[in-house]
């Protein structure tokens, strides 16, 4: 079990860095269309920021935010979001995951953004979940 670090350098630096890492992860997910990146990479970066939080502040500090139930709920929510967009396309008269029928402007681009948010949620929660399982083994 990782306990909280004594070193003030690590604590201050990670407290300063983690918001920027999370912002970069969100940027990578949101700009997956126009620049390299996407749901998987952004989700991994978001998960890495939470792992840094655990490493620098100890598992006991962040345990209440990452209960087994919440993490599994997030994991399922990503897959369900992905599948739901596909089923919505089907209900509107298209094929499974055929975004062209969505009633919004630039439907295919927005549909891709939706499924990338789903992938990002799943991957982030999976990284935190596997790390937590290994840590509490």
């Amino acid at each position: 079990m990782i306990t909280s670090q004594e070193s003030i350098i690590i604590k201050t630096l990670s407290r300063f860095l983690i918001p920027f890492i999370q912002l970069f992860g969100l940027y990578v997910i949101m700009h997956g269309h126009s620049s390299p990146g996407g749901g998987f990479q952004g989700g991994v970066i978001l998960g890495a920021s939470f792992i840094l939080l655990v490493i620098s502040f100890g598992y006991d500090e962040v345990k209440k935010r990452f209960s087994k139930r919440n993490v599994m709920l997030l994991t399922c929510a990503g897959v369900v979001l992905y599948g739901a967009i596909g089923v919505v396309c089907q209900l509107l008269g298209g094929n499974f995951l055929d975004y062209a029928v969505l009633p919004i402007s630039q439907p295919r681009s927005m549909g891709m953004l939706g499924i990338e948010i789903g992938v990002g949620l799943t991957v982030m929660a999976v990284m935190v979940s596997i790390f937590r399982d290994l840590l509490t083994y």
């Binding site: 269309h33 126009s34 990503g78 599948g83 596909g86 295919r108 499924i115 992938v119």
Partner: protein, 94 residues
């Protein structure tokens, strides 16, 4: 025995190198990979999907069912880790 393993690894490596010689040059426009469906994606993906990044267009639009399977695989990996690691701990405690 270690000499035998070294021999096997060397022979397999040389065999793979021999295979690499036959491959088309890097970035060659006449290679099989770039004459089949790639021109269609390069010419049409911007007009069809309004997304500048071609890789995302292929991953999340043309091959989105594939990506759905990939997400499910990641999800299954998390559930398997959860089950295996918790089950072993429970058996040790009892």
């Amino acid at each position: 025995m270690k000499l035998f393993y070294l021999l096997m690894v060397t022979i397999t490596g040389l065999w793979l190198c021999y295979g690499v010689i036959e491959m088309p040059r890097w970035g060659s426009p006449n290679s099989p990979a770039s004459v089949h469906v790639s021109p269609r994606y390069i010419e049409q993906s911007m007009a069809e999907t309004e997304v500048p990044n071609m890789v995302t267009a292929v991953l999340a639009d043309y091959r989105s069912y594939d990506t759905f399977g990939e997400t499910t695989v990641v999800f299954t990996a998390a559930i398997c880790c959860l089950l295996i690691l918790s089950a072993t701990r429970g058996r040790k405690e009892s």
